[in-house]
């Protein structure tokens, strides 16, 4: 058994009458790449938001490296070592790529300038380090988004559709970077709709449906699971197409 890095226990988040996350219990091991899938509205993004402090859970706990981080402010969770990206990669405007990196609240022990340079080189965007970030292409913005998170030196990174809207060639490059980082010990949680991408990269997959964590397993296990198929296909009414 490997060490559990991140553990949620009965995590619940309600919005009025809607229970977006319904008692999610889910553990992620150190060094793992975990895919999170589920139909639209199944609570994936809510789950990320609860994990990273953007929502205060109504019930349940989040434990990270043995520390209970439930209800912490998001910046504090980030400093604790959980980084995340957003679906839409927006660089901070009126700043260069490098300044975007320096804006990150890095741990005190780190030389920010040195680290920023290393990461930019690692991601192959060091040649545009001093250009205006708003002029980057869509793919480069995704890379910058990843780069900024790396400035935190996080033990765990949550990615929301890291390859959405990126052309296949660049998507491959992003996946390569993720694998490299994973080899160095970084743990990932990835929301992804593209099954081909998931298949290539994840160790295990967790499936959410209607706010609940219904299945966990390898990609193959999950993709053949009846509950998963049902969650995705629903009841096939003659007219009502379940989407």
């Amino acid at each position: 058994m490997s060490e559990t890095l991140l553990q949620t226990d009965g995590l619940t988040k309600r919005f009025g009458a809607l229970t977006a996350n319904d008692g999610i219990t889910l553990g992620v091991d150190r060094g793992e790449i975990r895919g999170i899938i589920g139909p639209n509205g199944s609570g994936k993004t809510t789950f990320f938001n609860s994990l990273t402090g953007f929502y205060t859970p109504d019930a349940g706990t989040v434990t990270f490296e043995g520390t209970d981080i439930t209800g912490w402010d998001s910046h504090r969770i980030a400093r604790q070592g959980i980084g995340r990206t957003f679906q839409i990669a927006a660089p901070f405007g009126n700043m260069t790529v490098r300044q975007n990196m320096l804006a990150v609240q890095t741990p005190k022990s780190v030389d920010e300038h040195e680290r920023a340079q290393e990461i930019l080189e690692f991601l192959d965007i060091d040649h545009i380090a001093d250009d205006d970030a708003s002029g980057m292409s869509g793919g480069q913005k995704k890379l910058l988004g990843l780069g900024r998170v790396l400035m935190l030196d996080p033990a765990c990174i949550l990615l929301d559709e890291p390859t959405a809207g990126v052309n296949p060639a660049l998507a491959d490059r992003i996946l390569d970077h993720l694998r490299d980082l994973n080899d160095d010990g970084t743990t990932f949680l990835i929301i992804e709709h593209d099954m081909d991408v998931l298949k290539q990269i994840v160790d295990t997959v967790s499936v959410l449906d209607q706010g609940q964590h219904i299945v966990q397993g390898t990609f193959d296990e999950v993709s053949t699971d009846d509950r998963v198929r049902e969650a995705y296909l629903g009841s096939a009414d003659e007219d009502e197409v379940p989407i």
């Binding site: 910046h75 980084g83 995340r84 957003f86 927006a90 660089p91 901070f92 988004g145």
Partner: protein, 350 residues
């Protein structure tokens, strides 16, 4: 194209400004120039230059919270007025010199801004704008009814030899106030430049403005940073309020707490260029002079009022990034034409 020549000059200026040390040289040259300037001016023009400095400083202080942090503070003038009254109270009730009034005003308003900032900064957008505006109006109304501010009679600030708390020969005159404002304004500009354009603090402020959630997820404590910017910008406004009170010698809630004080700061920052160092400087100079010169020299008509209105509308229409945008070449003949074309399009209402 006739614009070519124009463009090359602009490019050359741009190239100069792009040099790393250009800002430093510009600042040094500006400081030198402003230091010797009053030698060439009579009392009246010294007062005008002094007013320019005051408003550049105020616009810059608003720009910190409004431009860099993106929080539309419509109640900034409350701190200008509070600074004035605190100084007045310190000088009349406690009979302390102006210097003490200045310092106490700064500290008092910083504490006040902290207390106000904690709940108010949880709001954003229009909500923040309206809340700060209502707060400032409430403060003004309060000052009109309580005793210690002189209520509706206002407050006369002690003046004359010995009231400054700084060794001065005779009365504090326009020269004294000019250099006082100069120190405050240059200090504000230097601080704004260092904080917002050159330090990681400033990068974080802009990060929060552009994408608060992303900033938070990168370990940036948005609440704390916004609060710091708010407190800083309000305390600076208070210092200017304090200096201005001692200079004008008479303060009244309807004057130093008037909403127009805030409006003017906003318009200066916006017309100059939001979230830039140069914007509030240019905007402050232009708007103050336009305003003061028209009222002083076109004294027998109020025609300048509608004209100022038209000017404001015109700049918003054609130069949304302000004068700084014009200098950067964002408002060429083509842009104006495009703007007009798009505007004409929107008149297709039948």
């Amino acid at each position: 194209m006739g614009a070519e020549n124009d463009l090359s000059i602009r490019n050359r200026i741009q190239a100069l400004l792009d040099r790393d040390d250009a800002h430093l040289w510009l600042f040094a040259a500006g400081t030198l120039f402003l230091t010797v300037l009053p030698l060439a001016l009579n009392t009246f023009w010294t007062r005008i230059a002094l007013g320019v400095l005051l408003w550049v400083g105020l616009a810059q202080s608003w720009n910190m919270i409004g431009g860099y942090a993106g929080y539309l503070d419509f109640g900034h003038g409350a701190y200008f007025g509070a600074g004035a009254f605190v100084t007045g109270i310190v000088m009349t009730e406690l009979e302390l010199p102006f210097v003490a009034g200045l310092l106490i005003a700064g500290v008092f308003c910083a504490v006040l801004a902290y207390a106000v900032g904690v709940p108010t900064l949880r709001l954003s957008g229009a909500y923040f704008a309206i809340a700060t505006w209502a707060f400032a109006e409430a403060i003004k109304e309060l000052a009109l009814i309580i005793e210690i501010t002189g209520g509706t009679y206002g407050m006369t600030i002690p003046t004359g030899p010995g009231t400054a708390g700084i060794p001065l020969v005779g009365w504090p005159d326009e020269m004294f106030f000019y250099y006082l404002m100069l120190v405050l304004t240059l200090g504000t500009i230097a601080l704004a430049y260092w904080l917002f354009e050159h330090s990681e603090f400033g990068f974080r402020v802009k990060a929060i403005r552009d994408h608060e959630d992303a900033a938070q997820s990168l370990g940036i404590d948005a609440t704390k940073i916004k609060r710091r910017v708010y407190v800083l910008s309000c305390a600076i406004a208070a210092l200017f309020g304090s200096a201005n009170a001692y200079y004008i010698t008479f303060v009244h809630p309807n004057d130093v707490l008037a909403p127009i004080i805030t409006d003017q700061m906003i318009i200066m920052a916006l017309l100059g260029g939001l979230g830039t160092i140069g914007g509030p400087i240019i905007g402050g100079v232009l708007i103050f002079l336009l305003n003061r010169m028209t009222s002083l020299f076109l004294g027998q008509t109020t025609l300048y009022l509608p004209l100022i209105g038209v000017l404001i509308m015109g700049i918003v229409l054609f130069a949304p990034s302000g004068v700084v945008g014009i200098l950067r070449g964002e408002v060429g003949r083509e842009d104006v034409k495009r703007n007009l074309r798009e505007l004409a399009e929107k008149f297709n209402i039948l």
